[in-house]
Assembly symmetry: C2
Homo-oligomer: 361 residues x 2
Amino acid sequence: MMVEIETSAIDYEIRAMFRTVIDKTEGHHPSFRKALHIAANSALGGKLLRPRLFLDLYEVLADPDDKFRYDGVESPVKEIAAAIEVLHFAFLLHDDVIDGDFIRRGRPNFISRLAQQSKISTDDHHDAERKEWARSSAILIGDLLLAEVHQIFARLDLPHAKRLQLLDLLDHAITDSIIGEFMDVSLSKGLISPQLADVQQMSRLKTATYTFELPLCSAAIMAGYDPQKSAEFATLGGLLGLLFQFQDDFLSAFGNQAEHGKDELSDVREGKETLIIAYARKTAAWPLIQPYFGNANLNKENIREIKELLVTCGAQSFLEDTIAHTARLCRDQILRITAFSPAEVPVLLNALVDSLEGRRS
Amino acid sequence: MMVEIETSAIDYEIRAMFRTVIDKTEGHHPSFRKALHIAANSALGGKLLRPRLFLDLYEVLADPDDKFRYDGVESPVKEIAAAIEVLHFAFLLHDDVIDGDFIRRGRPNFISRLAQQSKISTDDHHDAERKEWARSSAILIGDLLLAEVHQIFARLDLPHAKRLQLLDLLDHAITDSIIGEFMDVSLSKGLISPQLADVQQMSRLKTATYTFELPLCSAAIMAGYDPQKSAEFATLGGLLGLLFQFQDDFLSAFGNQAEHGKDELSDVREGKETLIIAYARKTAAWPLIQPYFGNANLNKENIREIKELLVTCGAQSFLEDTIAHTARLCRDQILRITAFSPAEVPVLLNALVDSLEGRRS
């Protein structure tokens, strides 16, 4: 039977991880401790996709007699779940610095909140300076959290070989994400020319490995599956990551703004090299779209025109087909996993594919 | 007998560490691999103070029959030495992003070199954009190196308890450095008021722990010293860090520019809250110095005037006295260590105090 992991239980673990970090700064300057508290609050309130996926899969994969319990007592499973979410948050901190963003999940991000809450008085008008300082703080707190994630993996009370497997996985996830983010920045600054293959690889690297491969394979390793079987989960992770990213691109262009919480056509405004743009570039519609690409100030009329161009040039249906095709590849891979897993595993994983394919936010 | 560790041997290990990182990016976009090569070249050419201190001390502390060999074969000692230097380099990358610096050790830093070498053509005039991209790259490569340092400590082929001791030490060094850098930024942006105690604590946190405590204690732990004895090295590390920082402040104000490679009065130009400034603030000379504080464009006459004010207000002799006093505290602590160490240890450590006290660059 699939066990629904409570959000509050994961939140509790994330809080505990921040508590550990804050305790280490005992006696140090209160402004740093305050910044950490703001970071903890910013880290909470997400969808917890990654730790949830890890815990749900672990729950159905692990032998009931051999399972790490995560109610009440300390367990490596709980710690890994929190570390996976905090790794995601640390990446967001550095991404927001790099992209100059102040909004995340539809609300002020850490940088924005820290800058606001550090106002010395109501007639303090050094907004730009405080934002710059808050960005520096986001670099430093991201570093501290990245270090803490490693400390958790490095200290797991497991046989050394198993710890090394998990460390390999963490290393792989971090390396991929960093290369992906580097390519993303390089593409948007024009330092890599926007080839479709590069755009797709960037998307996969930046998100898929740490969002899907890391939780899925960590669950398989913790449940005692051998490297060959864990590798099947890695393959699925890569496909799920693509599905997630394509759906993201689709929502940015054609989704309901109220549901996904970003500006309409935010990717176009930011000049972001998505799959939809890579396709549109090769069509006759591109010269008409290009003037708007990277233009932050689009009016309603511009938006209507761009959307229509993306439909008529075939980019919309191309992306829909790609999403459907990728979802099929995911289901095929789940079949392969079914061969060696308990019956609840394909149920859980197919439900995940359904939710990714149909998500609206 | 004290063994002089060759610079080339340490350089070799640092290169090997970068080689490992670069190998992990095999098949990925060449521009990222190129950036890593530039990072490797930027990381080399330093004074190697930290790994040298670690290796020199390990060499005289360790029981000859029980020593890890680091000629030829893989040894945790070699790996730790490289990781200590690469940690330093990762901090420099993020510090340079935070401070907006393009010069390091008197030559173009990683950011500056990457921006320059990524010029697509000679008539590429997007200098500001390329610098911004290079700063983003410095954040990402700093993250990757920080992760690699943790991987090295986490994977050391040592008894788990010993590995945990080293992980504690790494954690402590990173936490202190990050809090110190946070305080430094907060002081220079005026978000923490410049109290002498905070300025001193900032200096200690930012540099002392990872520069002295980490190498000294790592050597003690690797040589098999118990936590109580290792703690005596930690105390010495804190004092050496203060000595180093005070000497740095002194050189910035009164040193020979040609020898230390920074602009004359660079700390004053940058509005940096050093011990010398904290002292001067409490004197009658401050209203005369303040107009120049944080002013990047000082002429020869300004510089002459500020230096004279720092002498007449007593800041110079206060700093000289503080340096001499701190050096004495270091020598007292070395006496304590002498009680339980081989005879070469105080020789090595006292020579270090002499060189820090008398350094000109």
